[in-house]
Symmetry: C2
Subunit: 356 residues, 2 copies
């Protein structure tokens, strides 16, 4: 039994990693504030692959909700494969990559810089190819990530996107973001419980992860971790999209993991929880101590022990995504162990994937 | 055995449905041409759910590749749940819905009209709520769709998006689009072969569908059909995203369906085909008679018997998506039959799904 995979160790490093990123990013945040003080971008395009693309999906919701600027998740092939030209006037293009060596992300960022867009890079590696391209660089200070399964860089990239939203004038205060390392530490307290629950899923071959709004990206990220490290065919849907077809999959005992986040998305999540219970799905819910309604209603729940604080003028779930993904990461790491798999070296994968 | 589901009958109606839509849309195409002749939108936002959202995903690639205007697929919850405001200056918002009664699509379209965006609706129902909202209305003339599994309206919506691209100045000629009904008819000739092949998948519980570029949306659509009508846990990925993690799922005999389209995307698809063969995946490839490389190389392939024509100045795969989805639709319909399921009434679903 692999009791201490790199993946588990890196999951546990997240509070410190987040604190380092917060401190080191301050000057770049000032630089971004200055650049966009008089003229905000009209469109933001986020470009990434894999786990970084899940961080981008989070960024899409965060930036639209908190700044009102339309966001598009790039389809890199438009540029890298079809060699089309996009009109990028008044556009901010943000490239996100752990390694900074993602060929397609770098291609799009380079092309955007030449096409006159403002550019920002978010990477964990200061000396990477990506670091040389953009006007601005937000460094994730997670330290080297050695497990193939990305964890601490995912939350680091999420933090970088909060910092970008703040710099673009969102009502997200720096002191709200300073709570994140502590919230991550509290979320890590779920580890013994998650370790124990993992056994139940030893023979799970497929399942669905559901989230909505700011936690929609976490559904993608937990599903990706279950695919990569546990070889579970894990689908991911928003609670709304799930009702438009895929809910037909659900029969008694069908496994569903659900991010039960508070705030405006709760009503839609509650609706789907009720439907899933009526269909006798096997549910596991992630929530936090402050979200009493979800907590009380579900017997099978993993509850982050600290209530996630509310930021004035922002939706109630604003700060939930980082603490909510942590028990998901832990679940994937412990389930890999139960299945006798090494989450640090999934079959067919390398740490840096090159695609165009 | 259900030999003649509504779904199968509606699949077979597609050539006529496409021809009707082409004829009836001409005046709206002229109207759109006129409106955008001097000033094109700076951003296009597509909003939809379910199968219509898969058509929107196709539209995203088509419009960016052929017009260079950035496109964003709306996250409706930003407006319907978080009640945020998006800056929609110089934006065209396109709402797509078979029934025209999709609550969230209509909400976003209504909001966009009030916020000063140009608006276009694409629906199969002239007397729907959606039809009353937008500046312009492109009617899909598929006739009533009675199966819960949408088929003829999906290809009808795709055609409407080709017409929009044409109206926005893309190098897509009306006479290219006039080939589509005939290409659909040729694709329907695969029916006996697909019907025979379906048996092999009788006990398939999960699988993956891969596509890229203009056929990426078809991967989503075939996967959705397999989920809705056959209860197969079907994932969908671009060939690039598949390499960034999910390929770890593939062990010998793992079922993968792949859209082997010609043109600039072929290199990336060929790379993944070779990887999947090395991993001994169970592959089924969809391609056309004209794409000799894919056709010659694959023993297990469903081949649309007519070579898909090439449009000057446009990528070689421009007209493949409609003929390529048809054998996929047939596969889902016949597999449902093999599994003893009624594709017209999947469990837990209704024809019109209302979500916010």
């Amino acid at each position: 039994m692999r009791t201490n995979s790199l993946m588990l160790r890196e999951i546990r490093e997240q509070p410190q990693a987040l604190a380092r990123t917060l401190t080191s990013a301050q000057s770049v945040v000032q630089e971004l504030k200055k650049r966009f003080a008089t003229r905000r971008p009209r469109l933001i395009i986020l470009v990434a692959r894999g786990t970084s693309d899940n961080a981008a999906l989070f960024g899409r919701y965060l930036l639209e909700v908190s700044t009102g600027i339309p966001v598009s998740l790039a389809a890199p092939s438009i540029l890298t494969v079809y060699r089309s030209k996009l009109d990028l006037k008044d556009t901010l293009v943000v490239g996100i990559s752990q390694s900074g060596e993602s060929t397609d992300t770098n291609y799009v960022l380079e092309w955007a810089a030449k096409a006159g867009a403002a550019t920002l890079g978010i990477t964990n590696r200061a000396r990477s190819s990506l670091a040389k391209i953009p006007d601005h660089l937000l460094l994730v200070k997670a330290g080297p990530e050695r497990s193939v399964a990305a964890t601490k860089t995912y939350t680091g990239q999420m933090l970088a996107l909060y910092l970008l939203a703040h710099a673009l004038g969102a009502r997200i205060r720096m002191r709200d973001l300073q709570r994140l390392p502590e919230l991550a530490a509290k979320a890590l307290e779920t580890e013994p419980e998650v370790a124990e629950r993992a056994e139940r899923y030893r023979f799970m071959r497929y399942g669905v992860v559901v989230g909505r709004g700011l936690n929609y990206a976490n559904a993608f990220e937990l599903a990706l971790k279950l695919m990569e490290t546990c070889y579970v065919v894990a689908e991911r849907f928003s609670s709304a999209d799930f009702l438009h077809g895929p809910i037909a999959l659900v029969e008694p005992s069908f496994p569903v993991f659900l991010y039960a986040s508070p705030g405006p998305v709760w009503r839609s999540l509650k609706e789907i929880l009720d439907r899933l219970e009526a269909l006798q799905a096997e549910l596991l819910v992630f929530t936090d101590r402050g979200h009493r309604e979800a907590y009380a209603a579900r017997r099978r729940a993993i509850v982050v022990p600290e209530a996630v604080p509310v930021c004035p003028g922002m939706p109630e779930d604003l700060l939930t995504p980082i603490p909510y993904i942590i028990p998901g990461q832990l679940l994937a790491a412990y389930l890999a162990r139960e299945k006798g798999l090494n989450p640090d070296r999934p079959r067919s994968l390398q740490k840096v994937t090159l695609t165009l």
